[in-house]
């Protein structure tokens, strides 16, 4: 695309057409205090070498997750991404294609999405999955709005184990859809507390496993209570690798599963782009958000793929669309699918088992430190511990030694009164030496 700036004559003609004396007159509705009065103070242009030098100096101030012991999780997990994933997703047929608007000519993209959906449905134990959402939190919000459409009831109950940032995303998106959000207080093992809050006005309960404190649990009783009251159960999963070991949400009676897929095939990426997994029961499919890829045969009976149910999307249905999402996380979903395909069922189970084994070592070592209390009763690869000092201060202190010790709960929920609680995750990338370094530094800092 050529960039052709407007000439002064073009500008004058346009201003004359709208009856404005000059460009500043177009901004009179912006309060004076918010307007710039002079040019922005920016440095002049620089040569490529100088720019590279300056940016390299800025980049050197960062510390990458790969540079040392790393125990941060809380919804974004450092896992190994095989180099073949990056290699394959950078093929131009995949890399340059955006979400398909003229979909059927991109059969390769559609087939990859179809495989993705099949994998997500199998992983979550559900009947049908869509072609992905932006991330786990917006998938959860879409789930809440979907439950509202299905049940026509006003209230959604969010469990105290739900990631606080997911709760924020749900509240932000669902309140415009007219959903009343009931947030329960943060509790280490409080999923079942939602049962007492279910009433005839409840459209859904939103529970997470493993929850934000790492607590894994069987949610079957919650599903039964919700269904008995005519409400739906939405299960949130922020660590997709856990699905390799734990009972699937589908087996526990979930009606909708909203999960973050970053853990499989995707790097931390500074917090995004990520990929939301969204799965549900077949009977609800017409109320599901997003796009869905289907398998069919062409006029000559050959296997082919199409986007289906697009008639419910915004570009066709306008303001009556089921959701305002009109795209997906195509490339991240592809990375997920490629990694998942390479792992296979046995590989995923093995990966999950290694994660859990490392987390057990970490938990045992932490539990042996006087003054450190392990709070999470049943975990997959992440735990919460109570410290004798504010967790944020400890994380800062250990960062000084090149150790990223985890995520303080105060970072996620500043007003929860859990400033002394730290979340730590272990994955297949966590070595025994990493754990030893953490324990040594932690014991030293608390001594």
């Amino acid at each position: 695309m050529r960039y052709l700036p407007l000439t002064p004559d073009d500008r004058a003609a346009m201003l004359a057409a709208v009856g404005a004396p000059d460009i500043d007159a177009l901004f009179t509705d912006v309060p004076k205090a918010a307007r710039l009065t002079g040019p922005v103070d920016l440095p002049l242009h620089k040569g490529e070498i100088e720019v590279e030098r300056e940016l390299a100096a800025l980049a050197a101030k960062n510390r990458s997750g790969a540079q040392g012991p790393f125990f941060c999780g809380a919804g974004a997990y450092r896992h190994h991404v095989p180099s073949s994933v990056d290699h394959l997703i950078q093929r131009s047929e995949f890399l340059t294609s955006y979400t398909p608007y003229q979909p059927e000519i991109a059969q390769g993209t559609l087939q990859a999405l179809f495989e993705f959906q099949s994998q997500v449905a199998a992983l979550t134990g559900m009947e049908v999955a869509n072609a992905s959402m932006y991330d786990g939190s917006t998938a959860a919000a879409e789930g809440v709005m979907m439950a509202h459409r299905i049940t026509k009831r006003p209230k959604a109950v969010l469990s105290g184990g739900l990631h606080p940032q997911y709760a924020e995303a749900i509240a932000t998106l669902a309140h415009v859809a007219g959903v009343d959000i009931v947030r329960q207080p943060l509790v280490i093992d409080g999923e079942a507390d939602v049962i007492g809050a279910i009433d005839a006005e409840t459209s859904c309960v939103v529970v997470q496993t493993p929850n934000v404190f790492g607590t894994a649990g069987d949610l079957t009783a919650i599903a039964e209570a919700a269904h008995a009251a005519g409400a739906l159960m939405i299960v949130v999963v922020t660590e997709a690798v856990s699905l390799g070991l734990l009972k699937s949400p589908g087996e526990m009676g979930a009606d909708i599963v909203a999960a973050e897929g970053q853990s499989i095939g995707n790097a931390l990426n500074y917090g995004g782009p990520y990929v939301g997994l969204f799965a549900t029961r077949e009977r609800f499919i017409r109320q599901a958000p997003g796009r869905l890829c289907g398998e069919t045969v062409d006029a000559e009976g050959r296997r082919g793929f199409v986007l289906t149910l697009s008639t419910r999307e915004q570009h066709i249905r306008r303001d009556k669309a089921t959701s305002n999402i009109c795209t997906n996380s195509g490339l991240c979903a592809l990375a997920f699918t490629i990694h998942m395909t390479m792992l296979g069922e046995a590989g995923l189970r093995q990966l999950a088992a290694v994660n859990h084994a490392q987390a057990r070592k970490l938990t045992t070592a932490l539990g042996a430190i006087p003054d450190v209390e392990v709070l999470t009763p049943r975990f997959f690869n992440e735990i919460a511990v109570r410290l004798p000092v504010p967790a944020a201060e400890l994380v800062e202190a250990l960062a000084g030694f090149g150790i990223l010790a985890g995520v303080p709960v105060s970072r996620l929920a500043p007003d929860a009164g859990l400033d002394d609680v730290l979340l730590l995750a272990a994955t297949e990338l966590t070595t025994d030496a990493d754990i030893a370094a953490l324990i040594k530094a932690l014991a030293g800092a608390l001594a």
Binding site: R286, T311, R312, I316, R317, K320
Partner: protein
């Protein structure tokens, strides 16, 4: 049978009106794959959303051409939505409304007027 510019038809018997979409509408929609019907008991005013008809290329609203209360819906369409294409003005009916004012139907177009209207499209 009476018609609207939105291509719905209404047939009144006593104080109950049967409502569907016209043959012209069914042809324009293409293959109908799904019909979303209103709950029985729902009260509708003229122009309210009565149903959604979904084809392979579009999902369109069906508006209430006349005011009343839904007393029956054509559940057959849930399993066989293609009936809308095969028999749009008979077996492919959507809903039956109990009318508060059966006389209101006279304000709608008769077949000649509807055919003339189609000629202008």
């Amino acid at each position: 049978m009476r018609f609207t510019k939105d291509h719905e038809w209404v047939e009144v018997a006593g104080d109950v009106a049967t409502i569907g979409v016209t043959a012209y509408a069914a042809e324009q929609l293409g293959d109908v794959v799904f019909v979303e019907l209103p709950p029985v008991g729902k009260a509708v005013k003229v122009g309210d959303n009565l149903a959604v008809v979904e084809s392979v290329k579009a999902a369109s609203d069906v508006y209430a051409p006349i005011a009343g209360e839904v007393v029956a819906v054509n559940d057959e369409l849930t399993g066989t939505p293609e009936t809308v294409n095969a028999e749009p003005e008979s077996g492919g009916w959507f809903a039956k409304l109990k009318l508060s004012d059966p006389g209101a139907v006279d304000a709608l177009m008769d077949r000649d007027a509807y055919e003339a209207f189609l000629g202008t499209l």
